[in-house]
Amino acid sequence: MARAVSTRRKAIFTLAAWTVGLLISFPILWTLLTSFKTEAEAVASPPSVLLFDWTLENYRVVQERSDYWRHFWNSVIIAGGSTLLGILVAIPAAWSMAFVPGRRTKDILLWMLSTKMLPAIGVLYPISLLFVRFGLLDTRAGLVLVLMLINLPIIVWMLYTYFREIPGEILEAARMDGATLWKEVLYVLTPMAVPGIASTVLLNVILAWNEAFWTLNLTAAQAGPLTAFIASYSSPEGLFFAKLSAASVMAVAPILILGWFSQRQLVRGLTFGAVK
């Protein structure tokens, strides 16, 4: 009897959850749909839902007009570069905090976190000034550096929480066998930490990809990633919904797919281990 009730219950909750889920993601689905319409159909009233002439024209036009691929590669290099650089700096730091904790480790961790809370607007002018001074304005190197710095606290934190889950005895055994510190990190710790490192990379690529304060303020034509590419569509110009949609899909799709794989890491990474 309980079974029958629970099946009905399940059906009701399923219906409710799917309705809500589709409603929440509707803007994304609608954008995807509109990207395959012609400009005229995109503004048709009443809007056409599936019965229209599907076209890939918008994607071609967007690439031609705003040079999607250059912005795409800028995004890849900036997001990937800043994450890799951050990982390289953070692994040794997180390792020593997790396995050789001192009296001040906790304070250092919290202090690192506090630098993440620094509102970007408070340091916009100094950073722009330094960028001009060192010729970093509108360069990918400059953005790699800045995004690495703003995400470094999260990277250290995530790695730290992952490393702490690795039993210290294994490391001690390696040390007994005469492994040097460097070998211990390279051959014993790193293989065990690969899943944690991969999760950290994933989340930080997403965060860097979507970062929209520094990327908008420190780039122009040369180094602008996709956040800047899409901002160039902010002034309306005749009929442009279909093109805007295509551009939006092209900017979001790569990271959306990565994002789906990172749900769990997202919670850990963004709450600094406070919610598990």
Partner: protein, 288 residues
């Protein structure tokens, strides 16, 4: 056992990260602090000498200051209220046994991965455009006059857009917290005949208290700093000038660096007040 040798090695391994962050914090912050006590007008010759506390006084006594504080608070509180309440309901729903749970989760979580410039532009044009937006079509179907969202209800529109972006975050964290709840406890209450509402109020909600606090604090820090959503929609017009945007305009439009820097110091102080509470929770967690 950590030997003295490994201690110093550990310190050396920590050094690059610590030094980088120290530099990142101290250098720009020091410059902002310096500029905030100077009269700096690049269009009129640059640094025109010391200004004492003038910039700080002028920033606060400007007629734009209090409206900007109000706007900031409305956005932060509005988005928090929407995302927490809907987030709890959604988390409870997603915690149930349903068919296609994985797909529904993906649908719900997706807005979080859409970059702020895209979500703001999609909402602004395809939904809130008074002529061709989907909402305008909807209004017309029901015989109403289309609403000019980003002009007449600019604040509401911004709050909706930002809430849409952050709802997945709140939901995901609250769902994680609900799933860590001991199911036996809930079942025991169910056996004892506690109705659903009471189970929620006395068992689930107290269990969520910590997660809710974390969501509130983290979102507040990000929401105080929202920028792109306003940059590509109203540009601070129609009563949507937040504190962040006011400072941004003081620096880029008015080119008054001293004044903008003083504003920046206020923003930093504000963010740090929130951050202290967050640190306390995170710090407590470290000891366990």
């Amino acid at each position: 056992m950590a030997t003295r040798h490994s201690r110093s090695a550990a310190r050396a391994m920590m050094a690059p990260a610590v030094l980088l962050l120290l530099g990142w914090m101290l250098v720009p912050l020091g410059m902002t602090l310096w500029f905030s006590f100077r009269q700096v007008l690049p269009l009129r010759g640059g640094d025109l000498g010391p200004a004492g506390f003038d910039n700080y006084v002028r920033f606060v006594s400007s007629s734009r200051f209090w409206p900007a504080v109000e706007t900031t608070l409305v956005i932060v509180l509005g988005v928090l209220a929407i995302t927490i309440v809907l987030g709890i309901l959604l988390a409870l729903l997603l915690d149930q046994l349903i068919w296609g749970q994985g797909v529904v989760r993906i649908l719900v979580i997706s807005p979080f991965f859409v970059m702020p410039t895209v979500s703001a532009l999609v909402w602004k044009n395809m939904f809130m455009d008074p002529v061709n937006g989907l909402l305008a079509h909807l209004w017309r179907i029901f015989g109403g006059d289309p609403v000019v969202w980003l002009t007449d209800y600019a604040m509401l529109s911004i709050v909706l857009i930002v809430a849409w972006q952050w709802l997945p975050f709140a939901t995901l964290i609250l769902l994680t917290a609900i799933q860590s709840l001991d199911s036996e406890q809930v079942e025991a209450a169910e056996m004892d005949g506690a109705p659903p509402l009471q189970r929620f109020w006395f068992i689930i909600l107290p269990h969520l208290a910590r997660a809710i606090t974390v969501v509130v604090l983290i979102q507040t820090i990000f929401l105080l700093a929202i920028f792109a959503e306003i940059f590509v929609t109203t540009q601070g017009a129609f009563g949507t000038q937040t504190l962040t945007y006011l400072i941004f305009q003081r620096i880029t439009d008015a080119q008054n660096i001293g004044l903008g820097s003083a504003g920046g110091i206020y923003a930093i102080i504000l963010a740090n007040i929130v951050a202290i509470f967050l640190m306390r929770i995170v710090g407590k967690n470290l000891d366990r």
